[in-house]
């Protein structure tokens, strides 16, 4: 029976000590400990979330980079193509122009040649006429000695002139 009858002194001291312990530990230990554990858990959670976000950002960035790369590549191809067409165009143009120019030059040359030829011909004609005149003079000089012959010659000459 002694075992199950609480003694008032022990009840008093236990209650007092327990209340003191509760207040003391609450202030001294549980608040900082639980607070620190809570804070740390939160910071770990936060860090994990941040890591997750960073990972997502990373994937997004990688995808974006890929896109940009592709775009750049496409653009480059486009530019190259354009350049090529442009080059071809210019070349063709140049060729055509060159041809036209060449043709023009040839034409000019032909005209020149023609002119030169004409001039040369005219000159030749002049020279021929001069020579002919000289020859005619000489012949005339020779033939003027003889009257008959002179007349025949004039007649002939006249005939020739007319034929010309």
């Amino acid at each position: 029976m002694e075992l199950v009858t609480p003694s008032i002194g022990l009840v008093f001291w236990t209650a007092l000590a327990f209340i003191c312990l509760l207040i003391l530990l609450r202030k001294l230990a549980w608040k900082p400990i639980l607070g620190a554990i809570h804070d740390r858990e939160q910071s770990i959670d936060e860090a994990l979330n941040k890591a997750e976000l960073a990972k997502q950002e990373m994937t997004r960035l990688t995808a974006q980079n890929q896109d940009l790369m592709q775009q750049a590549r496409a653009e480059r191809d486009e530019i190259l193509k354009e350049a090529k067409t442009l080059k071809d165009g210019i070349l063709n143009e140049a060729k055509k122009q060159a041809q036209v120019e060449g043709a023009k030059l040839i034409e000019k040359a032909k005209i020149e040649i023609e002119n030169q030829k004409k001039v040369a011909l005219a000159e030749v004609k002049g020279q021929v006429s001069t020579l002919s005149l000289e020859i005619a003079e000489r012949i005339l000089r020779n033939q003027l000695d003889d009257k008959a012959k002179q007349e025949a010659l004039v007649a002939n000459l006249l005939k020739d002139v007319e034929l010309n």
Partner: protein, 387 residues
């Protein structure tokens, strides 16, 4: 979460098995003790009671019958001196509140109950163990007032209230000092290494604190758990430290603190107060207007009101009985050596004591856990919101 469920299941199984075991051993022990006490007058076991803890006993004192019940009960009960070994013991202060005023003196003045002490107001006598007569009072009294005729004056004794620092009180103070030192150190660790991984003592206690929070408080109380964490942690570690110190066989330990009904009474009262002071309107509505036909109220309301008391009462008895039973079994096993008066039985005793000590180690944690768990459960029932 899976792991927790498995763990809880295992704990339940373990509790069940060990309860059976303890019950079995207690019954065995009781019948054994009864048989022994019935037989002992014939087979005179001449051995000093002090021989249990020292070798001086047999020579210095006269031949004395070894009474295991007395030895065990002396240990289980509270005492005004802290017995260390042989005849060495620490006297503890006696504080008496008498009608005249406070009396404070050392328990050494009683000389182990052999002398009376003349205080300022009365003459006192220390009555120990089974010699003590039953008091009409609810509370135990070991210190009696001696009348002028040299006889105990029961009427005067009833007016004296004993607030002595007894062995249990002293042991409890040691445990409290230890708890405060340990957890101040742990808290200092958190302040020193803010946001870093725990280290040393801190990393030893952190899982326990988190266990109390995540496996006791959160599932039973719910979102409002934070308010009750200091209380739950305090009762958990208070019971745990006292249980463990009780297993320690010499000085700072050895007291049966958590196996004392006064202490478990205070703890259970604390839980009762916390539960009922925090009970919300749903809790009180459930008690005062239960969900039954009105004509059942005369039965239901008293039943619910008894429930308020019976829940902490179960807590009180559970802790007290478990720890006391453990101490009784260990002492009974040790007593076997002196009952049989042979060293041959010692290896058996020691082996069994070792087994029991390991078991008690488990029980120390288990009872702290169960007390805290049930307190959390009752608090959870009182603060539960019904939508």
């Amino acid at each position: 979460m899976d792991c927790n469920q498995v763990f809880v299941l295992k704990v339940k199984k373990v509790i069940f098995v060990f309860t059976l075991l303890i019950a079995f051993l207690s019954i065995r022990n009781d019948t054994f003790a009864q048989v022994e006490s019935a037989v002992s007058p014939d087979s005179v076991v001449a051995e000093s009671a002090h021989a249990v803890s020292g070798e001086h006993g047999a020579t210095e004192h006269g031949e004395e019958k070894f009474e295991p019940t007395k030895v065990i009960m002396e240990h289980i009960a509270d005492s005004h001196v802290w017995h260390l070994w042989g005849h060495t013991s620490i006297p503890l202060p006696v504080i008496l509140y008498t009608s005249g005023g406070l009396e404070v003196f050392s328990s050494a003045n009683f000389h182990h109950g052999e002398h009376d002490y003349q205080g300022k107001y009365n003459k006192y006598r220390l009555v120990t163990g089974l010699k003590q007569s039953m008091t009409k009072d609810m509370f135990n009294k070991n210190i009696k007032v001696v009348g002028a005729d040299g006889q105990i004056d029961e009427a005067a004794s009833d007016t004296v209230i004993d607030f002595s620092i007894t062995k249990n009180v002293a042991a409890m103070f040691i445990a409290i000092a230890l708890i405060v030192i340990v957890f101040s150190a742990v808290a200092a660790g958190y302040k020193k290494r803010v946001g870093k991984a725990p280290k040393g003592l801190q990393s030893f206690f952190e899982p326990v604190i988190i266990f109390v929070r995540d496996d006791i408080a959160k599932p039973n109380i719910g979102h409002n758990y934070a308010k009750f964490m200091p209380y739950l942690l305090t009762i958990f570690f208070f019971i745990l430290f006292n249980n463990l110190l009780g297993l320690f066989p010499i000085f700072p330990g050895s007291a049966n603190v958590t196996g004392n009904i006064a202490l478990t009474f205070v703890m259970a009262t604390a839980t009762m107060l916390v539960v009922n002071l925090n009970g919300n309107k749903y809790y009180w509505k459930h008690i005062l207007t239960p969900d039954v036909p009105w004509w059942l109220y005369p039965i239901m309301i008293p039943v619910e009101l008894i429930g308020i008391i019976s829940k902490p009462f179960a807590l009180m008895v559970r802790l007290f009985a478990n720890i006391t039973a453990g101490h009784i079994i260990v002492l009974s096993l040790i007593s076997l050596i002196f009952i049989f008066k042979t060293l041959a039985i010692a290896p058996v005793s020691v082996a069994f004591v070792l087994f029991m000590d390991v078991l008690e180690l488990l029980v120390a944690f288990l009872q702290a856990f169960i007390f805290t768990l049930l307190s959390a459960l009752f608090i959870g029932m009182a603060v539960e919101e019904h939508h």
